[in-house]
């Protein structure tokens, strides 16, 4: 009888470990990798536009926190996460001079600039495995009054895109005021409400330093380790 229970334990244990590894751990890691690699695209656009369309990392943090509040989960949440980094990819197709113009844009120029969502969606559609994200990229400046039935995550992306842009040029309060003024018209009221609730629970000022120290800590941890292994490899080679 004893062997039976031990055997059962071993069986269930190893099935559990393997199952966890294959169906939980690896997919999560894969998704993390994917988001990290897309960060390169976001960085390229940020450098091209000199950051005038807002801090993508801030947007990512806010969007993830708010999406939990809105009940965006599972596949939709993953899609949203990928769309955050890809949303402005269409900016590569917009002339540099227009992107970096400091004077106010004419209506014609604004129309050209607005095409970046469409261009971005066209680019993202080309990449196999990311075509589902194209919809969110296309709708990432969606206007609530015009498309009330667009996915909730697209409305969230639209509100937060404007939020970080205004926050970059003015401050958080002005950005939040704009969202509040546009709720129900330009922005989805439910989304604005959730953002407000999130900001009330965790004031934004407390976020940025935390992020930076985490990055610093990670960098400190990872880089010496990497150098050390490289050193060992070099030593072994000679």
């Amino acid at each position: 009888m004893d062997t039976f229970w031990i055997g059962l334990g071993v069986v269930l244990g190893s099935v559990g470990v393997l199952g966890y590894y294959a169906f939980v751990f690896l997919p999560a890691q894969l998704h993390r990798w994917r988001c990290q690699s897309l960060r390169a695209f976001a960085k390229a656009i940020e450098l091209r536009t000199q950051g005038r369309y807002g801090d993508t990392e801030l947007l990512a943090q806010l969007a993830l926190a708010v999406s939990t509040r809105l009940g965006i989960e599972g596949y939709e949440r993953k899609r949203l996460e990928l769309a955050i980094y890809l949303r402005d990819i269409g900016m590569v197709g917009i002339p540099y001079a227009l992107l970096n113009k400091t004077t106010p844009l004419s209506p014609m120029e604004q129309l050209t600039l607005a095409r970046h969502a469409e261009i971005g969606a066209a680019i993202v559609e080309q990449i196999p495995g990311l075509s589902a994200v194209a919809e969110l990229v296309r709708l990432h400046h969606v206007v609530y009054a015009q498309h009330p039935d667009a996915p909730l995550s697209a409305h969230l992306l639209a509100a937060l895109s404007d939020f970080v842009e205004i926050a970059h040029h003015q401050d958080y309060d002005a950005a939040l005021a704009t969202l509040r003024a546009g709720a129900g018209d330009r922005y989805h009221p439910q989304v604005v409400q959730a953002i407000e609730a999130e900001l009330a629970a965790r004031p934004l000022t407390s976020w940025a330093p935390l992020r930076r120290s985490a990055a610093l800590w990670l960098g400190l941890m990872v880089y010496p380790l990497k150098d050390l292994t490289r050193l060992l490899v070099e030593l072994a080679r000679h």
């Binding site: 069986v11 590894y21 294959a22 990290q36 690699s37 390169a40 960085k43 091209r48 970096n100």
Partner: protein, 442 residues
């Protein structure tokens, strides 16, 4: 590879084939028919079926193009063979392994595009592995000092590790002979993966042993469940590699949008870069990275004003300063991708010169990584022959002929370019020339 070298490799490969076959046949004859002693025939047939199924269920993908598919991934029937060796003795294990490998090989010849002698080589390899992994067992097992259960587990681990080591050695030699790469690299590469592969195999094997003891053949069917998990894991691993290539390809798209290259420029630079790296004796993994780095070397240009990039006239000092930022910008973009960390410095330094007059950092000589020196030479050559943007030509010079461009490289060797890289690159170009003429290239 020259024809003589190829012929030499072929001869060695067949010699190796013969040696392995002889060893395997001798082992099989020496072992005889193991079923006469035991009488486990139905059980073994059943187990063989399970092992075969497991082997066929696991789809093998080629992981990296251009390099032998990393199918060195342990044969998935190994855990079953290990458990059988421990429970029923190594002769039975040898026959089981031989049968499964041969059967699976035959069933998948079409899929893997292999041929009969390849299937037999695999079978011979597995026979030698199983014999080598199990033959020491009757001597060592009684002497292990722990409790019986722990002894068995230790012996199982020993069998698996011995099997894997012998397998890696044999496969590496075969790959070395078939592909003409250095044994050391292949060995290092596969040894690196060993611990990661042994753990799941050990768990599976343990599971199988316990199930066989407790429930007989029916119990062994339960092993298929974790196999499916393992398969899923393997598929995800390949996805990870796909993702890697996808990222690089999409970044390539991005570059082409920003700068009106001819489609061929980046491809040519990348291919030449890889060839030069191979000639210089870099390990295959590294050569592949050089290919990717060369593909992405101008990533920083996506950030710049396209009016400067497309300008046909002479650049003002200010515009030139902008252009000089592009290696740094490219590095900054790529540093966000953790799995491309290695190529970041190569991209940052691909416009440095040996004499320290390059941009943006003005590094000298050995401070510049070899890979960056390779990219510098190859990129400069393709730009000189007008491959970068033939419709508009580079602002400050007309396109040179190939001979003139090579002459220019030679003149710059030692000051601007690495002389060794230039020398090797000349050979690469000489080989590429006839091909390009046939294809109607420049």
């Amino acid at each position: 590879m020259s024809p003589e070298r190829r012929e030499q490799l072929r001869r060695r490969y067949w010699l190796w084939h013969g040696l392995l076959s002889a060893a395997a046949l001798m082992i099989l004859i020496g072992v005889g028919n193991p079923l006469q002693q035991g009488g486990h025939a139905p059980l073994l047939l059943g187990l063989g079926g399970v092992a075969l199924l497991a082997e066929l269920l696991l789809v093998r993908y080629p992981l990296r193009h251009g390099y032998t598919d990393r199918g060195i991934w342990m044969s998935v029937s190994t855990p079953i063979v290990a458990a059988v060796i421990l429970l029923y003795g190594w002769p039975i294990g040898v026959w089981l392994d031989a049968g499964v490998t041969f059967g699976a090989g035959l069933l998948t010849t079409r899929l893997k595009q292999s041929c009969l002698h390849w299937v037999w080589l695999n079978t011979a390899q597995s026979i030698v592995c199983a014999a080598g992994a199990g033959a020491w067992l009757p001597v060592v097992l009684p002497q292990l000092p722990f409790t019986p259960g722990l002894n068995l587990a230790l012996a199982l681990l020993g069998i698996l590790i011995a099997y894997s080591l012998i397998n890696i050695l044999l496969v590496s030699i075969t790959v070395t002979l078939a592909e003409g790469v250095r044994l050391r690299w292949v060995l290092r590469e596969s040894l690196f993966d060993l611990p990661r592969e042994t753990l799941p195999m050990f768990l599976l094997s343990l599971l199988l042993m316990v199930m066989l003891r407790l429930y007989g053949f029916i119990g062994s069917l339960a092993v298929l469940a974790p196999y499916l998990a393992l398969r899923q894991a393997f598929i995800l691993y390949t996805r990870q590699h796909e993702l890697y290539h996808q990222t690089i390809r999409s970044l390539g798209f991005l570059i082409q949008r920003a700068h009106p290259y001819t489609g061929g420029h980046l491809q040519r630079v990348a291919q030449w870069g890889r060839k030069v790296a191979e000639r210089l004796g870099l390990p295959p993994e590294r050569c592949e990275l050089v290919y990717e780095a060369a593909l992405l070397h101008d990533l920083g240009k996506t950030v710049l004003d396209e009016r400067i990039l497309n300008k046909t006239g002479k650049l003002t000092p200010r515009e030139w300063a902008q252009i000089q930022r592009h290696p740094q910008l490219g590095a900054e973009i790529l540093s966000n991708v953790p799995f491309l960390n290695e190529i970041v410095p190569w991209i940052a330094y691909h416009h440095e010169r040996l004499d320290g007059k390059g941009y943006p950092y003005g590094l000298e000589g050995d401070q510049i990584p070899l890979e960056a020196r390779i990219i510098a030479v190859v990129d400069a050559f393709d730009a000189m022959i007008g491959g970068e943007a033939p419709s508009q030509q580079r602002q400050y010079r007309r396109a040179l002929s190939i001979e003139e461009a090579l002459e220019e490289l030679r003149r710059g060797a030692g000051t601007q370019f690495d002389p060794q890289v230039v020398m090797v690159f000349e050979q690469v170009v000489q080989e590429w020339l006839p091909l390009s003429r046939i294809a109607g290239g420049k």
